[in-house]
């Protein structure tokens, strides 16, 4: 009944050597996924919106719908 002596030292170091690179890699992947999945499309959406944006046309549309209090639709 003689067992092998178990590993007594360096347990945390062994765990860190395994888990830290994985943690770093996953964090970088998460950051990259958010950047290219969320922020870049959002910036592009804003750019595309304002490329063809006619502020006066939108304003007149809102004015005719009657939502402003300072300027009423042209009919009134």
């Amino acid at each position: 009944m003689s067992l092998q002596k178990p590993i007594m030292r360096g347990l945390l170091a062994k765990r860190l050597r395994f888990h830290l690179p994985i943690a770093f890699a996953l964090s970088l992947i998460a950051a990259a996924a958010f950047k290219y999945g969320v922020t870049e499309p959002r910036k592009q959406a804003y750019a595309d919106f304002y490329k063809q944006y006619d502020a006066m046309k939108e304003f007149n549309g809102m004015k005719e719908a009657g939502i402003f209090e300072s300027v009423r639709p042209s009919g009134e």
Binding site: M1, A45, Y46, M62, A65, G66
Partner: protein
């Protein structure tokens, strides 16, 4: 409590916590383990716990003559002990082995059942409350009002870049 040092409070809480959590102290016979009586919490206690391995005292208090001679033999070199003697020494110091401690019980069924019963009672209370306590729903929840509200949101161009107003086609005057 002011005269107690922090250490004493800590050890008192440990013993109380251990008493409350000792799996060997389960009081329901239907859970499949023996029922034990309350111990004197002011004396060193024995426990079987997976996470706290070394109890304050050994399991067997009254040793037979054979046990006593075995404890004498334990004071010498352990290589002279047979395997049966080593197991007997273990059983003097401890009640269960780790596999015996880990034997599953039926307690989880009681726990799940209790959880579901209380969720059900809460559901009944919620139903009673929604019928007898709540005031009438505000008029702003009526479908006609909701339609006018939606039209006003579209007129205002709410979130026109990525949100609400992007779902409406302003030329064709319909949802995209």
């Amino acid at each position: 409590m002011l005269h107690m040092t922090v250490g004493r409070v800590g050890s008192l809480l440990t013993r109380r916590g251990v008493m409350a959590l000792t799996s060997g102290n389960v009081r329901m016979a239907s859970h499949g383990h023996g029922v034990s009586e309350q111990a004197d919490l002011s004396l060193p206690m024995y426990w079987d716990r997976l996470d706290t391995p070394l109890p304050d005292k050994a399991y067997k208090d009254d040793l037979t003559a054979a046990d006593k001679s075995l404890k004498q033999k334990e004071k010498g070199p352990w290589t002279q002990l047979t395997n049966e003697e080593k197991i007997a020494l273990y059983r003097i110091a401890f009640k269960d082995t780790y596999p015996e401690m880990k034997v599953p019980s039926h307690e989880w069924k009681t726990v799940v059942g209790g959880i579901l019963i209380f969720i059900g009672i809460t559901g009944l209370i919620v139903i009673w409350q929604s019928h007898f306590v709540y005031p009438p729903t505000p008029h702003t929840f009526a479908p006609e009002w909701q339609a006018k509200q939606t039209q006003r949101m579209l007129d205002m161009r709410v979130n026109p870049i990525e949100g609400f107003a992007t779902n409406w086609d302003y030329e064709k005057k319909q949802w995209k």
